[in-house]
């Protein structure tokens, strides 16, 4: 895949790829079976700088941009999509949020440990009645002296049971639907915090997905991110970056599926012909490869815009929509080209197939992405067209 990367970007890609293939690959199968990733993975990623790629050096990070992050995310996700999503949430959502909206004190308290990998990050928006409809959230955050008291529950939170810093969104003003939400950094040690249900998922099994329960949970007022009422804005801005990360994760899955397919079909023969030599196979491979490259370019573009500080709501949504759909289509064809053995756990494609499915569901369903994209596209037109 020829794309002009700088020397530095190539070196980052190489380190991510080598680490993923040598250290992560041997652990991935067992981790997906056991349902969690060993600490050694995040310690290793932390030592190499991947847990704080976008955190400034003064807080213990490497101070690089989103583009370098997604290069690394693709390589890591190709080997283990569960590690990929954990890393994406940690960097794009938690680290980003504390950096952008946290006080200096919060930054100094959390960022160094998040950047080194000794602490993991999570991001809690979703509730049972608030998935795509974020503003329907009901977790309440009531100010009481120098604390906020949180009551409610969040579901489907990645790494929620292992994270040391959880960004929690709650309602500080019950009367203002969109501007009554605020964001807080919660530590699992806070009184009133507990882990609820642990989900058993179809895929991404090495990434834990849990319910977080808040029962009169006491959060110091200084753990408020930004100001009261900024929550919706923070959530949406965070998801822009998160979407680019998920697009990269989807890319990794898709690329891995394509690699596996070519590897397998070059060997397997039926009717004295390699599977890869049938025209029907070749056409599938052509479509798979083209879609992967298109997804990559969309993802790269969104990342570069974000690094340039330019608005990228539409571009991030396009990248996430297209890359996640591509991942799902590619794994479908990949499994088909493997034939029966692709359906067994002996081959990698089986896990890729299950892992891919989540990408169209989280960090904004494909339907939400279409909502975002169409709104932006039509607004662009409206600006140019007469009334």
């Amino acid at each position: 895949m020829k794309y002009p990367l700088t020397e530095e970007e190539r070196m980052i890609q190489k380190t991510a790829r080598d680490f993923a293939r040598k250290e992560l690959a041997p652990l991935a199968v067992e981790a997906n079976e056991k349902g969690f990733l060993p600490e050694a993975v995040f310690k290793g990623l932390g030592e190499l700088g991947f847990m704080g790629i976008t955190v400034p050096e003064e807080y213990g990070g490497v101070g690089l941009g989103n583009f370098c992050l997604i290069i690394a995310l693709e390589e890591i996700s190709a080997v283990c999509a569960s590690t990929g999503v954990t890393l994406s949430v940690h960097n794009s959502l938690t680290n980003w949020c504390i950096l952008k909206y946290g006080s200096e004190k919060l930054r100094r308290h959390f960022l160094p440990r998040l950047a080194s990998g000794e602490m993991l990050g999570a991001y809690a928006i979703t509730e049972s009645e608030a998935g795509s409809d974020i503003a329907a959230m009901r977790l309440s955050a009531v100010r009481k002296g120098d604390e906020y008291i949180l009551n409610g529950a969040k579901i489907f939170i990645s790494t929620g049971d292992k994270a040391g810093a959880i960004i929690v969104f709650g309602r500080t003003d019950p009367n203002n639907r969109t501007k009554g939400i605020s964001a807080f950094v919660v530590e699992p040690s806070f009184e009133g915090f507990s882990i609820g249900k642990v989900e058993k998922k179809m895929g991404l099994k090495a990434s834990t997905t849990v319910e977080l329960v808040f029962e009169d949970c006491r959060v110091p007022a200084e753990n408020l991110l930004g100001t009261e009422g900024m929550g919706m804005r923070i959530a949406l801005a965070g998801l822009d970056g998160g979407r680019i990360g998920i697009a990269a994760q989807s890319l990794g899955i898709a690329q891995a599926a394509l690699d596996e397919t070519v590897r397998f079909t070059r060997e397997r023969k039926q009717f004295a012909t390699r599977i890869i030599d049938f025209q029907s196979s070749r056409w599938k491979i052509a479509d798979m490869a083209t879609a992967v490259e298109a997804a990559r370019l969309l993802t790269y573009r969104a990342a570069k815009l974000r690094d340039a500080g330019e608005p990228c709501i539409k571009e991030a949504a396009m990248a996430k929509l297209f890359a996640s759909r591509t991942a799902n289509r590619v794994v479908y064809d990949a499994l088909q080209l493997h034939g029966g053995v692709g359906y067994t756990e002996e081959f990698l494609v089986e896990r890729l197939y299950r892992d891919a499915r989540a990408t169209e569901l989280y960090e904004g369903t494909s339907e939400i992405q279409r909502l975002v994209i169409s709104k932006a596209v039509i607004e662009d037109y409206e600006r140019m067209m007469p009334d």
Partner: protein, 263 residues
Amino acid sequence: MKIIVLLKRVPDTEAKILINQEGTGIKDDGIKYVINTYDEYAVEEGLRLRDKAGTGSTVTVVCMGPEEAAELIRTALAMGADNAVHVCDKALDRPDPFVAATVLAKAIKDQGFDIIFCGKQAIDDDMGQVHSILADMLDIPQVNVAIEFEMAADTKRSTVRRRIEGGDEKVETSLPAVISCEKGLNEPRYASLPGIMKAKKKEIRKKTLADLGFTGIPGEARSSVVRWVPLPKSSGCTQVRAEETRDAVKELVRLLREEAKII
């Protein structure tokens, strides 16, 4: 302590190598080039020694290669090496081991050295000669195929365990010396992201043959490559099967005598 590490740019071991039409070399396009595998152990050992030796010690990478080698040198710097010398001259096109050693010896002498680490051989031509000729030219001892290295406290001697057929040999040597590294010596570290960023500011001193004080290609080439030929295609595998072992043996002997004509 001045620690020198030699680096060579070679094709990736997984690359498919094809000989060009003229038989004068390999087809270059599309091939990924990497740091010679055995040189990675050398870089790692150099870094470990420096970290143990403390302040004042430096690891200098010395690499003779084309312009493109710069990126690989930068990777070694990202692993933690302090600076580098890149000998780059269009006249040096796959020099024979004597010429290579002559050039490297000068570059290393100019640098100053207390110990030299390198890979036991380069995985492209597998000659494994340069480091031996180099040691001789620098008039220092050499210990090859090292799988364990330990510096004495006085930094004037070192103990090296080397892997030979059928076992290991423990050798003690005075320093400076050339130590060629074998797989198993250590586990080379990855270039961390902070390391990659720091490497941007580290110095790579580029030297042409003229910079080293040579007019034209130095030394005398003692060998030259006449031609490159691809390996003969493997003719496949014939399996000899029979109900009775005796019959299989008879058939095998017949094939070896009448078809392979080797008995």
